[in-house]
């Protein structure tokens, strides 16, 4: 499939998903209280920003955004003995 075929096939689905996100954010705003400083709310904003990036690895970038950090010397933090 070429790009315009993919776009045509997915247009309504993508439109519906954008609407879902818009309505969810409206729902949060309408509810009592303020979560603008909440870490998860800020993560969502950063995730939405990633969607308008030009690179074609947006899904991977969104995954990494919502991932815990990997620290390469975790085995010494756990005091684990090296195996052979």
């Amino acid at each position: 499939m070429n790009a315009s075929q993919v776009l045509e096939r997915e247009f309504l689905e993508i439109r519906a998903r954008i609407l879902e996100i818009a309505a969810s954010l409206d729902r949060i705003d309408r509810a009592a209280g303020d979560v603008s400083l909440d870490a998860n709310r800020q993560l969502l904003s950063r995730g939405i920003d990633l969607l308008s990036a030009k690179e074609s690895d947006r899904a991977e970038q969104v995954q990494l955004l919502f991932s815990n950090e990997y620290v390469s010397d975790w085995q010494s933090d756990f005091q684990m003995k090296p195996r052979s």
Binding site: M1, D57, A59, E60, Q63, L64, F66, S67, N68, E69, Y70, S72, W74, Q75, F78, M80, P82, R83, S84
Partner: protein
């Protein structure tokens, strides 16, 4: 098209599911030992579970013309209990003789803790000692990236591992390349709610390539869809992929991976020998 589901928890599924899977073309499946939805109280409880996996489920599957294989271990969630885990691991060697056992699995990490890591390492050593293949569970959601990297670190520390005999499961966009590039097999789990959708799995196949990549439904006791592999077949067809490529992903790849296990004795069905469901 016939297919193999390399990761499905049939102990949690009904006999009706076996019938549906057979009608959809499932010719073989493998069921890794996993969490049952609750923590079991003793090693004896695992003995019964291993009996179910090696004796009860193969018979249930055979009634629908499906060949059932399995993997044995104590899962990452219950591995937090190191004492229980070591008792369960002592039971495993006697069950490795059972004709449907392909190896050790699904071992791995759940919350990426020290105890889980210790028991993971001991399972890997058990697999090396008994020359078993390994099937690995990676954690979900925010823990997945870190946990997958930790698992790859631990595997890299074992000189005795043949990477082509290890499958790292539940890979997604941010973990698939590290697994494949390191020489392991990778599994993608199609889950309706929290994990990879058929569309995203096909995206991953298109960007990484089809080599050493499998797909599975993981159908278990939680919200899951045992017929997710046929959903992926349909998505690949709708995108215009060839039947040959689809077959490589859903049949040839799991077949080739399993073929490295000495217990994998399986005759692929042909149209002439097709077994129709009896129930």
């Amino acid at each position: 098209m016939y297919y193999i589901d390399p990761h499905i928890h049939m102990v949690s599924r009904t006999t009706d599911d076996y019938q549906t899977l057979s009608q959809m073309g499932c010719a073989a499946m493998s069921e890794p030992a996993f969490w049952a939805g609750f923590d079991r109280g003793s090693a004896e409880s695992f003995r019964d579970y291993f009996h179910q996996l090696t004796d009860v489920e193969p018979k249930r599957a055979a009634q629908y013309g499906i060949q059932h294989f399995t993997w044995l271990c104590i899962n990452a969630k219950e591995a937090e209990n190191v004492k229980l885990s070591r008792e369960v691991m002592k039971l495993i060697p006697e069950f490795l003789q059972c004709p449907n056992v392909l190896g050790i699995g699904e071992i791995g990490l759940n919350k990426n803790t020290k105890n889980e890591s210790i028991i993971f390492q001991e399972h890997v050593e058990l697999a090396i000692e008994y020359q078993q293949q390994i099937l690995i569970h990676t954690p979900h959601l925010a823990d997945k990236y870190q946990g997958t990297r930790m698992i790859l670190d631990m595997l890299a520390g074992h000189g005795g591992i043949e990477r082509s005999r290890v499958l790292v499961d539940h890979v997604e966009e941010h973990t698939v390349r590290e697994v494949i590039d390191a020489g392991y097999w990778a599994g993608m789990t199609l889950y309706p709610v929290t994990k990879c959708t058929p569309a995203r799995a096909v995206d991953i196949i298109e960007s990484v390539g089809p080599d050493r990549l499998c797909v599975n439904s993981a159908g278990d006791w939680g919200p899951s869809k045992p017929t997710a592999v046929p959903d992926l077949i349909l998505e690949m067809r709708r995108r215009g992929h060839t039947e040959g490529l689809i077959r490589k992903i859903v049949f040839d790849n799991p077949f080739d991976f399993f073929s490295q296990s000495k217990n994998f004795s399986f005759t692929p069905p042909s149209d002439e020998t097709r077994v129709f469901p009896t129930g």
